[in-house]
Amino acid sequence: MARILEHHTKALLEAEGIPVPKGVAIDSCEALEAVEECLPFPWVLKALVPKGKKGKAGLIKKAPNQIAALQITSDILGLRMDGFEIKNVLIEEQIDIHKEIFVSITYDNRLRSPVMLLSPLGGIDVEELTQKHPDSVFRHNINIVEGFYTFQARSLCYEAGFTTEETKKISPVLVSLYRLFHRTDARILEINPLAMDGAGQVWAVGALLNVDDEALFRHPELKDIAAYGMERSLGNFTERERKVLEADMKKPGGGATRYTEFPDGDIAINVIGGGASLVVLDAIVNAGGKPANYSDLGPGKGIEDKWQALLDATLTRPGIRAVFSGGNIIGALDVSEFAKLIVHSLKEFGIDPQKIPVVARWAGLGENEARRLFEAVPGIHYYGSEVSIQAAAEKVVEILKSRDSRKEGEES
């Protein structure tokens, strides 16, 4: 899912006719002065990061005046939330909130349908709401083929206990929210809180929008504001992560390439297969090894280029002490083609398997040729379909450990 930062989400909401607080995004304390001219105090300041739960993290603050605003801005800018550096702050007018409502639209995977959740208990996060107050959450399963109509929104509001006056204000907003959800190919659209002020006017005060990365091809209007692939990183991209992502996006129709670095690992992982990649990581972690990265590659057009990008990233990571390369028994392509690229890259990056242990488990179509290619390189531990992917992944830790204990023995 590609996340859209809150100020962009607010602009999309506004364009859909949903009232949002007036706001400005800034990137420095110096920019505050200009904001003062167009936005009267009090303000609400929010860190702009592609993450939820900002309130809980102390990244949403009220500022009654200029001094407070300056203090908060200088405190927040440059901080990190879950690895993401805060580069921008959203400044908004403070709405006089009398009532907080929760609305979200997501897909229910069980029904394979969009579902709208509405609760009169807004302002608390969704986990707490659904776990502690499940009786206060009301749902409407949307028929995606037929659409979502005002009378359905009204019924949902009445069911949630809103008065007719409130229902008149809320239900058109719900219809607009679904229109935005559908139109942008959203996966999650959450307004929390949808606030009601003293005059009974509703405002989208907190807004979270995640759109479907797989639908971005038909949304040029979102291209510059959707953080594609960002959710697959543990923080701002490293140089290597960025390069793999670029290679992936060059051929968007082909197999998906995934590469996520872990800070302290020393075993380079290049793996094909979504399930296999999970099995390999579990096997290595459970055996006491430290993976340097996660990787996965799905079959498809342009797969060789993407595989090369993964090899470039995994094999050039500093501090690598071992390599695991492989996948499940593969029926989608000839594995010997991959064997060639791996053997070549090891040489190119100066990785000597006699010094840095390499375990290769390439099985399936082309297995015999792959075996021949790997076994021709001294030091590569090759396994075919006779050893399961899990057992093969455990070997790399075993080899690394026995090497370490041998070294210790030599030193003492």
Binding site: K51, D82, G83, Y107, N109, R110, R112, S113, E127, Q131, I144, V145, D185, D212, E214, A215, F217, R218, E231, R232, S233, L234, P252, G253, G255, A256, T260, I272, G273, G274, G275, A276, S277, L278, V279, L281, D282, V285, N286, P291, Y294, D296, G298, P299, G300, K301, G327, N328, I329, I330, G331, A332, L333, G364, L365, S385, S388, I389, Q390, A391
Partner: protein
Amino acid sequence: MSILIDENTRVVVQGITGHQAQFDTHYSLKYGTKVVAGVVPGREGQVILGLPIYNSVARAVSECGANASVLYIPAAGVKDAIIEAVYAGILFAVIITDKVPSRDFSEAFHIARSRGVRLIGPNCNGLISPGKSKMGILGNPGHYFMEGPVGVLSRSGGINHEIGSLLTRAGIGQSTVISVGGDPMIGTTFSEGLELFEKDDQTLAVVLFCEPGGCMEEDAADFICQGGFTKPVVAYVAGQFMENLPEGIPFGHAGAIIERGFGRPSSKKAVLAEAGVTVVDHLDQIPVVIAQLLSKDGSMTKKAL
């Protein structure tokens, strides 16, 4: 019997000109699948891999009696292609394509379901009923599988080759092995697959390959607890390492994501175990446990194997 496909399944390949489509069709024909036609608009009258090509699925149905379809259509065209197959009278469609937009799949799924059409996938590598028929990538080549009593449902297509290979090397055959797809929303879930395996006489036990994210494992456990599935089940739950990382990051398949406190492998293991499922920690244990369960059950007859 096996489920979903057998020697009577007549397959049409939508998008047969694609590289993966031709690759798989070649192996499917070799395996004995009754592939009867391909569909590529504008290519009617041509022949690919010895198969007649038609402009529409409707033509493949009327001319060749196709009753199942395997789709290799680029993601942007998948919704239309599924609905075309449904309107043409296809009863069963397998969507190999990865990266299908959720909105498109949701719409196509509801249209298919309203007309009684079953979907497998998207983002899957197909299925195989060993000795009878195969559709998609699974079973290229077919020797990792053999006919027998074990049904397999897996969120990973590739891991089916591992499970098939482990079982086959232990002398335990399979009824039908299914890659249900790696997306959060898919055509046939674990519990829906279990419902089919329950009714299948050939299937005496089922293996589940589970991943983090979603609620399929929990639903399957519920289904078993309610008596919907009464045969032994063995499950492997991958992705334990994700529990020590921040939530909200998908690893591998788009559906493999722990979010909003849900989808943890540890909780999936616990609910499955509570439902009486044997949860194993190593793939290599699968054939061992299956053999034990089947012999305890008294059903590991020579005939079944």
